[in-house]
Each structure stands twice: as structure tokens, then as C-alpha cells.
């Protein structure tokens, strides 16, 4: 029978339990309270006392109540049927919970993430007698638009021989689809497997370095601060600067197979928005509903804190699972600061010695380990899959010096810093081009990108100068340089999310417009007699580009404006003396 213990101490969601037999670190335990069974995890063991973080509210629990240890680590169920679902941090399906229990989340109510009874059409790939290892494909089913491969469980160590595989047909999760043999012992394999969420899945041949750009269709990101498939990025920003809106835009438009959204300790309303709008939106890449490529893991701010921590791990485990099928997966974690705060709360209750701003000393290593689960991998059969991780950070007071932002900056490949000034000036996306950086390669020529960076910096310098000496105090040349920088910011970096065309710009269009502005405006000189004329010239140009941005790519309207802008520029262009 199971090992048991008794509660000796309760503080908030931390419960200390006295036990007699062995207890595993991080194993799952259930607190038995009347009819309820409350899920918890062992997080510290001292002598014969184990400390548990409880994934539920602890009201009503009493000293002396029994606790049952399971011997299993907190695990996620992996199998067909995850796409389009919404789970809580412990992978309970929220729609089913709502059907059963109504408006509120009932304490101690846990449901299986994947219904056992559903039948899936299984098509075998492996042959009897074949040698296989963890992660090898045995067959597949169709889930939404993907071939969902059924693989040798990741927990199977070594080489196995396929003893038997079922023929094509309908099966559910209770029926084995294969029997694998190793050293005369035969193991059953089902379409569903489970994996401990805090341990990365490593059933692949090798890790590769992220090279390909992940196109988000947000110009500021793709052109200046690109993200790579299998890379990592973070979006820190004060409240109101548009972190969540930006993540939602990325989740809608990114050219990626699957998006896992981890709503961690944020507003429930934001999850509701995804939940209610995604089933009505189509993914232009596949023509299918957006929700079909999306999984939502949500532990919003009012839900129990301990499960907030696990939600991030559950999400990354699901992302890794789909990566094993050779897909490109994007994990959006919003917000990693809330996850860090959950660690801080629990660390405080454990009375650990606090680090900076009372965050635990292990904050950095936890954050690093989480982002390290991103990557491009070559799978056993040679195909490539990737997990890209993007996390928002909500720094206290909007100050990027704080521990969570700093720990994150050390490990990510791209930093998209949002600024309150830009947000208040309604410059969206409010990514500040002067502080952001990316280590990945853009599809725009590198030389041009770095030139544009210098133009933006120079424009800002001149702007600062003008604040002191006024417009009168600077030269016409400087003023034009300033206007060029402002112009690029206004028509290229800023993107209007409420315009159906401007909302998302394809790679092809970005290249075209970027090069157009670069060659025909930034690098050119114009006949502008005075500052007033210069201002008028760029205002007119701005208006033309704004309209151009709303025209469908290569439509008649687009081509007309293309011509109109070229003509307008030609009129004012200074003929270079050396030509």
C-alpha cells in the first residue's frame, strides 16, 4: 500500500508532513481532507519532515490529517487530442471542469487531460522485428491538420524490438498499439504516454544552432530584432506598454506550426480573449482555424499560486512533445515574472535566505534552465523540430535593473524592450529600438540593418538636442536627418494592429518596403530649401506610406501608390554630383 504521512504544520499553501518511510524529492502527494484529495508536491525534506507545496487553497485543513505519497513526479499526459484545448497549470481540461462544476474551479477536482475513450484512426509505420528506441515513430493518427506520431515512450531506456504492432484501425488510449521487447520482457505501448514536466525531453539525435528566422510579420521584430526558430526572446515592459497584445499578435501571425500559450499569473480576461476569438480566426498559412494549432495552459492570477509554477513547465513539456514530431513550436509565456513571484512566495514560506528583492537565490538558474529547453533538434529519423520560447517580463516599476529581467537577459537570444514613453505616444508596437537587441540574423541585409540602427540613434540625438536649443538651433542637414529617422519609425517600425492589412506584413513585403525606403529615401538627398519645406515633404510622404501600408500586397491600389510615391520622390530628388 501507499506510503503515508501526517500534517504537522500549515502556513498558507505550504504544509509540513511527518513521514515514516522513504519520500522522494518532488514527488506528488495527496492531502486527504474529508472527501477531498488535494494535489501537492514535495519541495523539501528535512529529517522525517517533508514540506509540500499545495496546488490548491488550504482552508479547512487540520493538523494530523493524512497525506498519501504517490512516488511519481508531476507529469503531463502526452497524446493526440491536446490541440485546441485549454488546460490549467496541472493540465486539467477547463472546459470539462466547467461542464461538471459550473462557474467556479472546484478544489480537489481533477480530470484526465485526454479522454481515454476517444477513438483515433491509427496507421502503423514500424514493422515487426524492427529495432527501436525512445522517440522513434511507431505510427500516426491525424490530429487536426497534423500527422500526430505515436512514438516509443521517452522513458523507455535502450533498444527495443517490435514484438507486435496493431494493424490500421480505430483504437483508444486503453488499447495497446504495440508490444516492445527487451531482454525477454515485453512492454505495452499506448497512444498516450506521460512525462515529468520538470525534466526536458531528450529523445533526439543532436541539438543544432538556431539559424532560420521565425517570421512574426511584425516589421520591427523581423527586420531589426529578429527571432530565430528554436531561439529565445523576452519582452520586458512596464504595465500598459502592450506586452500581452504583442504576444497575442505573435501568436496569431507567426509562421509556425503550433503555438502553446502559457498564461501564467496574468489577467483571466486575456485568456478569455484568446479563447473566444481564436475559434473564429483563420490561419492564413493553412486556411484552418487558429485554435486548431493552439494549446492554452492557463493559471491566471486568481488561481492557486503553486500551480502557477507548474503551468510554465507543463507548457514547455507539451511544446517539446510536438517538437518530437518534427514540428516547429512556439511557446509564449506571459508572464515569467509571475512565475518568479510564485517561487518567491514559496521560498518565503520555506523561510529560505532571500536574495535580491526577496527572490530566492536559485532564481537565475531556474530561469536559465527554462529557456534552455528551447532549441532546434535533429530527431532520430533525421528530421528537424524546434521549440522557440518567448517570455514576457513584468519588471517592478518598469525598471529593467530588477532581478527577473536581468536573469532573463543573460540567457535569451533577443531582447525586445518595451517603453512607457513609446506606449504613451501611441507608438505601437512599443518596442524601443534604441535599447533592444537580437543575436539572430534577419532576412534583411545585415549592412542595411546596422545602417538603419545608426539612423535611428542619430535622429534621437538630434531630437534631444532640439529639446534644448529649439528647431532654430540646429542645421537644416541635421533637421532632415532627424526627419528621416522619425519617418522610418513612423511608417515602418510602427504598425497599426487594427488595420487588417497593416496588422501583419509578410517577409516578401517587408523586404520590398525596407529596401524601397532604404534606397530611395534614407540614402537619397532631396531639394529642400528650408525646414518648413522639409517638414511638409516628410509629412506628405508619411501620409502616402500610411495609405500604402493599408493596401493589399501587389493589389492595384498598392501598385498605384508605388508609382505615385516614386514620382513624388523623383520630383524632389537632388541629382548627385558624382553621377
Amino acid at each position: 500500500m501507499g506510503r503515508r504521512g501526517k500534517i504537522v504544520k500549515i502556513v498558507g499553501n505550504l504544509v509540513a508532513v511527518e513521514f515514516a518511510e522513504a519520500v522522494y524529492q518532488n514527488e506528488v502527494a495527496y492531502i486527504l481532507h474529508n472527501e477531498e484529495k488535494l494535489k501537492s508536491e514535495v519541495i523539501r525534506i528535512r529529517g522525517n519532515i517533508a514540506e509540500l507545496q499545495v496546488y490548491e487553497r488550504t482552508e479547512g485543513l487540520k493538523i494530523g490529517e493524512e497525506v498519501e505519497f504517490t512516488g511519481e513526479l508531476l507529469s503531463a499526459d502526452l497524446g493526440p487530442g491536446l490541440l485546441g484545448q485549454i488546460f490549467d497549470g496541472l493540465q486539467n481540461p477547463l472546459s470539462l471542469l466547467a461542464e461538471k462544476y459550473g462557474f467556479f474551479l472546484k478544489r480537489g477536482a481533477y480530470l484526465k487531460a485526454l479522454p481515454e475513450e476517444n477513438f483515433w484512426e491509427f496507421i502503423p509505420l514500424a514493422k515487426k522485428g524492427e529495432k527501436v528506441k525512445a522517440g522513434d515513430r511507431l505510427g500516426y493518427v491525424f490530429e487536426k491538420i497534423f500527422k500526430h506520431y505515436i512514438m516509443v515512450p521517452f522513458s523507455f531506456p535502450g533498444i527495443f524490438e517490435v514484438e507486435e504492432i496493431v494493424p490500421e484501425g480505430k483504437y483508444n488510449f486503453k488499447q495497446p498499439i504495440a508490444y516492445l521487447k527487451k531482454e525477454d520482457k515485453v512492454y505495452e505501448v499506448f497512444m498516450k504516454q506521460s512525462w515529468p514536466v520538470k525534466i526536458p525531453i531528450r529523445a533526439y539525435r543532436e541539438r543544432l544552432s538556431p539559424q532560420k528566422t521565425l517570421v512574426t510579420k511584425i516589421r520591427l521584430i523581423d527586420s531589426l530584432f529578429p527571432i530565430a526558430l528554436g531561439g529565445t526572446y523576452c519582452i520586458p515592459g512596464p504595465f500598459g506598454s502592450g506586452k500581452t497584445v504583442l504576444q497575442q499578435l505573435i501568436s496569431k501571425h507567426a509562421e509556425i506550426d503550433i503555438v502553446v500559450i502559457a498564461a501564467c499569473g496574468e489577467r483571466a480576461g486575456e485568456v478569455v480573449e484568446v479563447l473566444r476569438t481564436f475559434p473564429e480566426l483563420t490561419d492564413p498559412r493553412t486556411g484552418k482555424l487558429l485554435i486548431d494549432r493552439t494549446i492554452i495552459i492557463c493559471n491566471t492570477s486568481a488561481m492557486p499560486v503553486a500551480a502557477r509554477e507548474s503551468s510554465v513547465y507543463t507548457a514547455v513539456t507539451l511544446a517539446e512533445y510536438y517538437r518530437q514530431m518534427g514540428l516547429n513550436v512556439l511557446l509564449l509565456a506571459d508572464s515569467t515574472s509571475r512565475w518568479a513571484q510564485a517561487m518567491r512566495e514559496i521560498s518565503g514560506r520555506l523561510e529560505e535566505i532571500p536574495g535580491e528583492e526577496a527572490f530566492p537565490a536559485y532564481l537565475e538558474s531556474r530561469i536559465a534552465a527554462f529557456y534552455e529547453r528551447a532549441g532546434v533538434v535533429r530527431l532520430n529519423d533525421g528530421s528537424i523540430g524546434s521549440v522557440t520560447i518567448g517570455g514576457t517580463v513584468s519588471p517592478a516599476g518598469g525598471n529593467f535593473e530588477e532581478p527577473v529581467t536581468q536573469a532573463t537577459l543573460k540567457v535569451v537570444g533577443a531582447f525586445l524592450g518595451l517603453s512607457r514613453e513609446r506606449a504613451e505616444a501611441r507608438k505601437y508596437p512599443a518596442i524601443d529600438p534604441l535599447i533592444s537587441w537580437s543575436k539572430y540574423k534577419s532576412f534583411i541585409e545585415e549592412e542595411r540593418v546596422s545602417f538603419i540602427h545608426s539612423v535611428l540613434r542619430r535622429a534621437n540625438d538630434i531630437y534631444q538636442m532640439m529639446k534644448v536649443v529649439g528647431e532654430e538651433g540646429i542645421t537644416l542637414e541635421d533637421y532632415i536627418e532627424y526627419l528621416k529617422g522619425e519617418f522610418f519609425d513612423y511608417v515602418y517600425l510602427q504598425q497599426y494592429a487594427f488595420d487588417p492589412v497593416d496588422e501583419a506584413t509578410t517577409q516578401e513585403r517587408q523586404k520590398y518596403i525596407f529596401d524601397f525606403i532604404y534606397e530611395k529615401i534614407i540614402q537619397e538627398e532631396f531639394l529642400l530649401e528650408n525646414k518648413e519645406n522639409a517638414l511638409k515633404f516628410f509629412q506628405k510622404l508619411r501620409q502616402l506610406f500610411k495609405t500604402w501600408n493599408s493596401e493589399i500586397w501587389q493589389s492595384a491600389g498598392f501598385k498605384d501608390l508605388d508609382r505615385e510615391i516614386r514620382e513624388f520622390l523623383n520630383e524632389r530628388r537632388k541629382v548627385k554630383s558624382n553621377v
Partner: protein
């Protein structure tokens, strides 16, 4: 029978430690001392030691006083009976009326399943152009008024409450000055809104622990009304007192502070309350408007900072007006496309021009030359401040929109506003009333 204990081991701050058995976490006890009887709540259990937080404070409690455990969590009476009544932070009558014990409901209710929430989509009209036109309030929104202590935030709150046309108003007052409490009562009475209101008031002179209970009690009662299909407006003033009470209590309990003395779970504590704002699928709704006074007008202070991360925008009250920059309703996009076709465009145009006006003011202050355009902007800015921005203005949204066009027409030519042609044709005032110079 109830279990009675008389062995008090420690008294630290407002926390008593007593040896007792079979006590549940979060359970309520009655502490009887020479000063009377107070409720207390279990906040920590360690072996046989029970830590109790005394709502009325520990002053005058002796080590020999009686403690009776009630065997249940904190309950509050709910329902129609409460309407028109005034209670203190623990739910006891403050108006001389009888205590209520009908429809008892646990105060600590679980979180709402996100799947059962509706997308907020119903505009709440307040008659204040700076809200209706520029930062529309939406049913089930949670939004604070960020304010410096001296601003008329309670007047604004009362006005929104009266004009918002919600079915039930619940006022949770924390650290409220007695005058303010009287003000609210009088204001609602004048406008005949008291009969659909419930007050839970903790005044500045009441015990600090009671302050902590006000949001929970108010929201538990609100939730009950909402589940019965009512549209409820909850006003919480001032949440800064609530946070300071949290700080005081957690420091007394020797918790490690995270930022300027505030506990590490400040965000979670605030979120647990604010997230009660909801539009239930198939029932009523809760809208929360709170007040957060900003110490030193500093928006990066932990209280406004943590609040801003959880609420859906903020109204920024400064110099007796709702500041157009810094104020934001995150949910306005959900409603302002459906009001009138010119709403969004006009909103953007008016604000952009006002931003230019502010820049011109700066330029003027620095002594730079004023151009023709600058002069137009100055004219516009003054009109805008007087006719739109002032809290005195009280007009419906449609009138506010018309007024917006009128102001534009007085100051600018259509082209100067940057508004697209189709809207100009439809809305630009026809009568020739524009001043050219």
C-alpha cells in the same frame, strides 16, 4: 459543542497564539475579553499551536481570556436584505439596524473558471466625456483611479456610481475618513441610489485587520448578486490603505518583505480581489472601480505598480481632471467601434492634437517663437481643457462627440485635423462658424 480554550501563549501584534486541537486552517474563533468579543481567524498552524489574527486588534486581551473556535470559515450574509444597509469591515451593522444571518456565504470563494467568462462587450455610460469618449468603461472591467491624495477621487467615484446605471452598488471603504463616509451616504441618498446600495465601511479609526476584510466581504456579496443575474458595481476606496494594512500585518508576522516593506505576494493578494470582476456566461456581472492614492504621485511605487499590472487600465486623476495621457481603458477597443462611426477616429485626432498643444506649451515656456500653427494649437488646447477635460462637464457620449467636432471646426480647417475625408464629409459641422485668424 464549541471548543473553548483559555490558554493564550503569545500575543504579538494582533496575533494570538493558543494551544488547541482539531482546528482548521482559516477557521474563525471568537475571542472574549474585558473589552468585549471579537472574531479572529486562524492564519498558521504548527503542531498544537494555533495562530489567530484578531479582527478588533489585541489591545486589552489578557493571557487568560476565552477563545471559542466556531468550526467554520468566515461567512457573510448576502441577498436583497442587505440593500440600503451599512456595515463595518467584519459585516456587523453600522447603521443601528439588526444584524443579518440570512443566506450565509463563505468569503473566500474559489476562482472563476476562465471558460465561463464572457468577453467584456457592454459599454457603461458615465456622462463624463474623458471616460465615455476617450477611455470607455466596460461592464466587468476592473479599473482603478490613480490619484494624488488631495484630488476629488471620492467625488468622482460617487458620480460614476450614480450615473453608471448599474443595478447594485457596493461600496467597500478602507481607511475612509468619517467625512468621506458621510459624503458617500449623503450623495447616494440624494440621488435615490442608497436603496440599491450596500456599504461596508472601515474608517481610519477602526482596527487595521478589519480593513483587510473589506474587499473580500464586498466582493463576496457582489458575487452572490451577480450569480443571481444582477449587474453589480463595486467601488473600493482606498486600496492603498488595504495594501498598507497588508504590509503592517505581514511585517508583524516576520515575513520577509520584498519591495519597500511590502510582502512578496502583494500582486497575488491584489489579483485575488480584482479578478473577481467578471461577466458570467448566463448570469450577471461585477465591475470594479477602485481608488489607489499614489504616495508621492509616483506610479512606480509598489502599490500602483502592482495594481497596474492586474487592472484593465487606469484613470489618472491629476489637477482635478482625468489626465488624457497616462489614463487608459484597456477594454475600450471592445466597445468604441460600435458606438458611432466617428468615435475612434475622433478620439485619436482630438488626443493627438492635444498632445501637440502640450508640446507647444513647453515650447512657449522655453521662450521659442510661436508660429501660426502653434497659435491655433493654443486656442484648441484651451477650448479642449474647458469644454471636454473639466470634471464639471456632464454630457452623454453622443453630445460629447458632437462637441468634439465643434471644437475642431472652431480651431482648424478639415485638412489640419488629419481625419480621413469620408468622416469629414459626414460629421464636419456645416454652419460657417470657424475663425480663420
Amino acid at each position: 459543542m464549541y471548543r473553548v480554550y483559555t490558554e493564550i501563549l503569545e500575543i504579538v501584534g494582533d496575533v494570538l497564539v493558543v494551544e488547541a486541537e482539531n482546528v482548521g486552517y482559516g477557521e474563525i474563533a471568537e475571542v472574549t475579553s474585558q473589552r468585549g468579543t471579537s472574531l479572529a481567524q486562524v492564519i498558521r498552524l504548527e503542531e498544537k499551536k494555533v495562530f489567530l489574527q484578531v479582527f478588533a486588534g489585541s489591545k486589552g486581551i489578557s493571557t487568560g481570556d476565552r477563545i471559542r473556535f466556531l468550526g467554520h470559515p468566515l461567512y457573510i450574509a448576502t441577498g436583497e436584505e442587505l440593500l440600503g444597509r451599512i456595515f463595518n469591515g467584519t459585516g456587523l451593522p453600522r447603521d443601528g439596524g439588526p444584524p443579518l444571518s440570512e443566506n450565509l456565504r463563505e468569503i473566500a470563494t474559489p476562482a472563476v473558471n476562465p471558460v465561463k467568462r464572457l468577453l467584456p462587450q457592454k459599454l457603461v455610460r458615465t456622462g463624463i466625456p474623458m471616460i465615455d469618449l476617450f477611455n470607455s468603461l466596460v461592464e466587468s472591467q476592473k479599473i482603478p483611479i490613480f490619484s494624488i491624495p488631495g484630488e476629488p477621487y471620492n467625488e468622482l467615484l460617487a458620480r460614476i456610481a450614480i450615473q453608471a446605471e448599474m443595478e447594485i452598488i457596493i461600496l467597500g471603504g478602507m481607511g475612509l475618513k468619517y467625512d468621506d463616509y458621510l459624503f458617500f451616504r449623503q450623495r447616494l441618498e440624494e440621488k435615490g441610489a442608497l436603496a440599491r446600495a450596500v456599504f461596508f465601511v472601515h474608517t481610519a479609526s477602526d482596527p487595521i485587520v478589519e480593513c483587510l476584510l473589506v474587499p473580500d466581504i464586498s466582493l463576496a456579496v457582489a458575487e452572490d448578486f451577480a450569480l443571481k443575474g444582477k449587474r453589480v458595481l463595486v467601488l473600493l476606496t482606498d486600496m492603498t490603505h488595504f495594501c498598507d494594512a497588508l504590509k503592517e500585518v505581514s511585517i508583524t508576522l516576520e515575513q520577509i518583505p520584498s519591495n519597500r516593506g511590502y510582502p512578496g505576494d502583494l500582486y497575488t493578494q491584489l489579483a485575488r480581489r480584482y479578478e473577481k470582476a467578471v461577466d458570467f456566461e448566463g448570469a450577471g456581472s461585477i465591475t470594479i472601480i477602485s481608488v489607489t492614492t499614489m504616495p508621492g504621485d509616483d506610479v512606480t511605487h509598489p502599490i500602483p505598480d502592482n495594481t497596474g499590472y492586474i487592472t484593465e487600465g487606469q484613470f489618472y486623476l491629476r489637477n482635478k481632471m482625468i489626465e488624457p495621457f497616462g489614463s487608459l481603458s484597456r477594454l475600450r477597443q471592445q466597445v468604441n467601434a460600435k458606438t458611432r462611426s466617428d468615435h475612434r477616429t475622433l478620439m485619436d485626432a482630438l488626443i493627438q492634437l492635444f498632445a501637440s498643444y502640450r508640446e507647444t506649451l513647453e515650447k512657449r515656456a522655453m521662450g521659442f517663437k510661436m508660429t501660426e500653427w502653434d497659435k491655433k494649437l493654443l486656442h484648441y488646447g484651451e477650448l479642449f481643457e474647458k469644454k471636454m477635460l473639466s470634471l464639471e462637464v456632464n454630457i452623454p457620449l453622443e453630445e460629447a462627440l458632437d462637441l468634439g467636432w465643434e471644437i475642431l471646426c472652431t480651431c482648424f480647417s478639415p485638412e489640419e485635423t488629419g481625419i480621413k475625408r469620408s468622416l469629414i464629409e459626414e460629421y464636419w459641422p456645416k454652419k460657417v462658424g470657424s475663425e480663420e485668424k
